[in-house]
């Protein structure tokens, strides 16, 4: 570097730091919130609104809230304190009184510990399945084992547990059963349907898959649930009438399957043709090509829309309310039907929303982490 010819220009490193280095909360606020008189006005107006609503919510939910109410003379709770605070403070006493009904519905009160264990088992199953170091063949066994234990706990009738028919199951276990079985069955179904729809060698299969997807996507889930609960029994032979919960489960599976199939198909189409050709050229057969090369990439590509659909269906299971299945939302609704608590449905719905949010938000965070992890290895 010692002998640079005259006229040979060497760029000097710039002294100015790049603009992104001018950081800090104040600088951020200046560029994003107060960069013109209009945005300053909008910021101030919205800030005022948020502050007002925030403080009145905090006052309602915490400061003026009634947390417990005393036992009345006739052996039931006396919501007089809540009535006094109505419109000013929340009545969380309804939750303390009703939380077991909200969580477990009409499941026999003295047996609800079984339903509680089931909820814990489901959550444990999700956590274990989420950890990559458990992504082995043994995971299938873990699922089969856990689901068997869940079945035994819910139904009972063996091991000294009293039998509980599924017509009186309810609450969070029903929501978890419908969504877990729904997605666990719908997802493999969706992969097969997506592959079928892309088949070039079997036009009949392709037609069938297109027909299935379009038919199911063409009707709302509610009408499918009505069909499952009202119309379906009419067509079934006498004596062969599967239970209402099972019928709703099948409807959810079919519905979720059609939607997920389209998401998976998008992933299949997003892969360059060269990946298919390279897999063909090294002699992998159809199923190995799909299983080892195409699907692992295609599914990673569609993690965001896939999780989006998962979250959607977790919440959509609440639609079984309209055919009288006792899921989390239904049991919350029934809980506030009781005369003394009728005025406090808001409190119950807030708690229900928090439960749904906890599950959906975990799914969302998990998928973000998964994307980041996969992004590391597949950065092109």
């Amino acid at each position: 570097m010692s002998a640079i010819a005259p006229g040979h220009h060497v760029a000097q490193p710039s002294r100015e730091p790049p603009p992104s280095l001018i950081a800090g909360p104040l600088a951020w606020m200046r560029t994003n919130l107060f960069n013109s008189w209009l945005s300053t006005a909008v910021t101030l107006a919205l800030g005022y609104l948020v502050l007002r609503m925030g403080t009145s919510f905090i006052q309602w939910a915490f400061i003026h809230a009634v947390w417990t109410v005393p036992m009345g003379a006739n052996g039931t709770l006396d919501p007089a304190a809540c009535r006094a605070a109505q419109g000013v403070g929340a009545c969380w006493a309804v939750i303390w009184d009703k939380y077991r009904f909200i969580l477990f519905g009409r499941y026999p009160y003295d047996q609800q510990w079984r339903a509680a264990i089931v909820v814990v088992l489901f959550i444990g199953l999700f956590v274990v399945s989420g950890m990559r170091r458990f992504w082995r063949k043994e995971l299938v066994l873990i699922w089969i084992g856990t689901l068997t234990v869940i079945g035994v706990l819910m139904w009972g009738g063996v091991l000294g547990l009293t039998y509980v028919g599924q017509d009186i199951w309810g609450g969070l276990p029903i929501t978890l059963i419908l969504s877990t079985f729904g997605l666990a069955v719908a997802f493999p179904l969706a992969v097969l349907v997506a592959l079928g729809r892309r088949s070039t060698t079997m036009p009949a299969v392709r037609m069938l898959c297109v027909l299935y997807i379009e038919l199911i996507r063409g009707v709302p889930l509610i009408s499918l649930l009505f069909m499952a609960s009202v119309m379906f029994p009419l067509f079934m032979p006498e004596g062969l009438n599967p239970d209402k919960l099972l019928r709703a489960q099948v409807a959810i599976i079919l519905f979720a399957g059609a939607y997920l199939a389209e998401v998976v198909r998008a992933g299949l189409q997003g892969l360059p043709k060269g990946q298919y050709e390279a897999a063909d050229a090294i002699g992998l057969g159809y199923w190995r090509k799909m299983g080892l090369v195409i699907l692992p990439q295609a599914l990673r590509l569609v993690i965001p829309p896939l999780v989006n659909t998962f979250i959607g269906f977790f919440k959509d299971t609440s639609l079984v309310l309209i055919i009288g299945i006792f899921d989390l939302l239904t049991s919350g609704k029934v809980a506030v039907a009781e005369p003394i608590w009728q005025a406090y449905s808001t409190e119950v719905y807030i708690v229900l929303a928090l439960i749904y949010f906890a599950f959906c938000f975990s799914m969302s965070r998990y998928s973000r982490g998964l994307e980041r992890e996969f992004g590391k290895s597949v950065r092109r």
């Binding site: 060269g274 050229a281 090294i282 992998l284 990673r300």
Partner: protein
């Protein structure tokens, strides 16, 4: 034109092969024989059908008329014969087509393990020996996205070799590479040719053709216009079309 070097059965035989894409006639009565251990370079202007021709040999494209026999097995709709042929024929693509979700080593062991049913340890040993041969054993644990184009293409060659093919097909292997990386890939291919691999190579690298090809085939508009040794073809082109093509190629280089 279809002389066999040693007199044994040809590695590849094409007999009056015709193919259409819709109404576009992309291969017209193409007949050609590739002897065992012969190195054939296919060249021609873009759209001449040379890539389609080579892709018909391992049935990435299907031909509609004529016969293609590879290593004694005729290409038909029968999937069993197709599996056999794809095991024996390796292919290297213009765009590498490595599997981005697998490491370099996994890319190389995938087919040996799942198609040839070789135990994993043995397949890895084999893969490492081929990666050493293409001079990148130290990249084995990396992912394709972390390698340069030239390195990726050498991995692609190693991946094909791991199936121990009798025939290697190259579809413009250097066309997607930056100029400084072309040589490392060509050197790998030259090494392969020196070891006696049967090769069919679509390329515009005339230096490579001169150095390794036993025969150059010139295609234009879906048909084989001229073929012969590199010396005959380059020094004494018989047809106007080849003359025009050569002048364009040379001007480009």
């Amino acid at each position: 034109m279809s002389q066999s070097v040693t007199g044994e059965a040809p590695a590849i035989l094409l007999d009056k092969v015709n193919k259409w894409f819709g109404v576009l006639h992309v291969l017209r009565d193409v007949s050609m024989t590739v002897a065992q251990k012969e190195k054939v370079v296919v060249c021609g202007p873009s759209g001449s059908g040379k890539s389609t021709l080579i892709r018909c040999i391992n049935r990435l494209e299907t031909h509609q008329e004529g016969r293609i026999v590879v290593d004694g097995t005729e290409l038909t709709d029968d999937t069993r014969s197709l599996d056999t042929i794809r095991r024996e024929v390796g292919m290297v693509f213009q765009s590498f087509n490595l599997f981005p979700h697998l490491t370099i080593l996994e890319n190389c062991t995938l087919a040996p393990i799942w198609v040839r049913k070789i135990p994993k340890a043995e397949a890895e040993e084999l893969a490492m020996s081929f990666l050493t041969r293409v001079k990148i054993p130290e990249q084995a644990k990396k992912y394709p996205g972390q390698l340069s184009g030239g390195q990726q293409q050498r991995v692609a060659i190693a991946r094909a070799l791991c199936m121990r093919p009798k025939i290697m097909l190259f579809d413009e292997p250097t066309s997607a590479l930056d100029p400084e990386m072309i040589k490392e890939v060509l050197d790998t291919m030259i090494g392969l040719a020196e070891d006696g691999m049967t090769m069919v190579c679509v390329t515009h690298e005339m230096g490579f053709a001169r150095q390794v090809a036993d025969r150059v085939v010139f295609m234009d508009r879906g048909e084989i216009v001229e073929s012969g040794t590199p010396a005959e073809m380059f020094e004494n082109p018989q047809t106007d079309r080849l003359q025009l093509f050569l002048s364009q190629i040379l001007r480009g280089h």
